[in-house]
């Protein structure tokens, strides 16, 4: 399969800087302050000033429900920093959280902006409070509330959570390929090992296989440790036109290719193949836009809102065989920091906190710039893959050191 475009224009884009606020289970801080901490941090890290920023992109834009899911929209940050932009974008209907970054790549490639500030900010930890995640379920108040939209087809059957929807994909994968919980456990154990050496990691106590297998079940095959941890925190990255980034502080991380496709129905339960997701199409598309091959990838930072999603991304990106992610991760050696495919080296969202997609891109840049400290991958990473999302909302990027 070849790309329909003559030029892969995302290659005109690069990551030039990253920023992240404090991260914690419940920080009790003003979410907008955290957002701006991350944004100003990224601008400074890139060696830019606020006046250099002429584009803005965010996911998912302003939302009041579920609680804490979005701390700020594009207009909020644009106004707070008094930005003058040539292009901006904020919204939920795109190729996952990284869709906002992919859009920014296209904006700089097309000349609408030179330096796009991209951010994602959450305060789900504080917003959910001690009642936890169940408190954020729609219609939990009962009364005369009636479900409509996608929820019409799930809420009446007491299936309000993505945990349940994704568990059914995982169960189908288990059925078709013989995947086991003992294999899936390695996503959680690997994440915990990495969070232990991440100063911002939320869960840093050791986790054994027994700990995993004895954890309380949430919805089969997912136990507590297969579900990410809601937190407070903001992450920002600067997407720059590469010819405007070569003289900046950091060596540009050029965008080699992106994946944004979805070919099946844009639905959780109506998607054609219940053992995979839209990442199947986004991952395949990425490899039509580069001469690099999956064997060139030296590091993967892939979404783990639920542990099985990371396995699904490994298969979607061709980093192991379709159906082969279970045997690939078993034992944990291959995905360790010193393995052939270091994975989620900050602890992912499972142990590092649910920064919702952007944490993976942030960590990819940390590693490729050698800023990982105690968690730094021991070998130099020239090619890294980043992937985020699940269900009908999936996007991925391949980064190379320029």
């Amino acid at each position: 399969m070849t790309s329909t475009a003559n030029e892969i224009i995302e290659r005109r884009a690069c990551i030039s800087g990253i920023g992240q606020s404090d991260v914690g289970r419940r920080l009790g801080r003003d979410p907008m302050e955290l957002t701006l901490d991350a944004c100003l941090g990224a601008i400074e890290h890139a060696g830019l000033t606020v006046a250099d920023i002429d584009g803005l992109s965010t996911y998912p834009g302003p939302m009041t429900s579920p609680p804490g899911f979005s701390a700020a929209g594009a207009y909020d940050v644009m106004d707070a920093l008094r930005l003058n932009v040539g292009w901006y974008n904020g919204g939920l209907e795109t190729s996952g959280q990284l869709g906002s970054v992919i859009n920014a790549c296209l904006a700089v490639a097309s000349g609408l902006a030179n330096h796009v500030l991209c951010f994602r900010s959450v305060f789900e930890g504080s917003a959910q409070g001690v009642k936890g995640r169940a408190s954020s379920m729609p219609g939990g108040g009962g009364g005369s509330f009636r479900a409509s939209g996608f929820m019409e087809w799930t809420l009446p059957f007491s299936a309000p959570s993505a945990a349940i929807w994704i568990a059914m994909f995982a169960q189908r994968h288990f059925h078709e390929y013989g995947t086991t919980r003992e294999q899936m456990a390695w996503i959680a154990i690997n994440a915990r090992r990495n969070a232990q050496v991440n100063p911002k990691g939320i869960y840093r106590d050791p986790m054994s296989m027994d700990d995993y297998l004895n954890a309380r079940m949430i919805t089969t095959p997912f136990c507590l440790y297969d579900c990410d941890v809601p937190c407070d925190g903001a992450t920002a990255v600067i997407v720059s036109r590469i010819d405007r980034a070569r003289d900046l502080r950091n060596r540009p991380l050029r965008v080699e290719a992106v994946g944004s496709a979805i070919h099946g129905r844009p639905s959780w339960d109506q998607f054609d193949d219940l053992s995979t997701m839209a990442n199947r199409d986004a991952g395949a598309q990425l490899w039509t836009r580069t001469d690099l091959r999956p064997s060139d990838v030296q590091m993967l930072q892939a979404y783990d809102g639920f542990s099985w999603l990371t396995m699904s991304w490994m298969e979607a990106l061709g980093l192991c065989e379709v159906g082969g992610s279970g045997p690939f991760i078993e034992g944990g050696e291959r995905i360790a920091r010193d393995g052939i495919l270091p994975l989620n080296t900050h602890g992912g969202q499972l142990s590092g906190g649910r920064l919702h997609g952007y944490g993976f891109l942030h960590e990819a840049a940390v590693q490729m710039w050698g800023e990982g400290g105690e968690r730094q991958i021991p070998r130099d990473v020239e090619v890294g893959a980043v992937a985020a999302g699940g269900g009908n909302t999936c996007g991925c990027l391949l980064l190379v050191k320029e």
Partner: protein
């Protein structure tokens, strides 16, 4: 199912497009919109056929038989609902397996659940001032 056995559910908002789906259970029927010319079942409902783009649509009953495509035994109390643990399932209707329903599998021991097993519809009636609803749940076809 006796009214006192019915768990709390968030009910769907009824519209002209979905009313037959959510209420035909009163007569024991599972009904979908279907394209007249090409025979395609539409789910969720929409005003044109996604296959032939025709508008000659009508509601028809299906057999109520389906195949279990996947499931999850839910142990988490997300909200008031059935006794824990309960089974959330995705089934594919036999007339057109691309039509899937997220539903609950009932009357089945959890260790007897098998992906691919034949199931059939059974309705759960909810009397409600906002309009009665009959939720299509599924049970193993083998159960008496």
């Amino acid at each position: 199912m006796a009214a006192t056995d019915v768990p709390f559910r968030i009910l769907p908002a009824l519209t002209d497009w979905n009313r037959e789906f959510w209420t035909a259970g009163e007569r024991g029927e599972l009904r979908f919109w279907r394209c007249g010319p090409c025979g395609y079942y539409l789910h969720p409902p929409q005003p044109i056929c996604p296959q032939c783009h025709g508008k000659d649509l009508a509601v028809e009953s299906v057999s109520g038989r389906a195949t279990l495509a996947s499931f999850s035994v839910n142990h988490q109390a997300w909200m008031p609902g059935p006794d824990l643990p309960y089974v959330v399932a995705i089934v594919e209707i036999v007339e057109q397996p691309s039509v899937r329903l997220t539903t609950n599998l009932v009357n089945c021991a959890h260790d007897a659940i098998r992906i691919g097993m034949p199931v059939r519809v059974v309705f759960e009636h909810h009397a409600d001032p906002g309009g009665d609803v009959w939720l299509p749940l599924f049970e193993p076809e083998a159960s008496a």
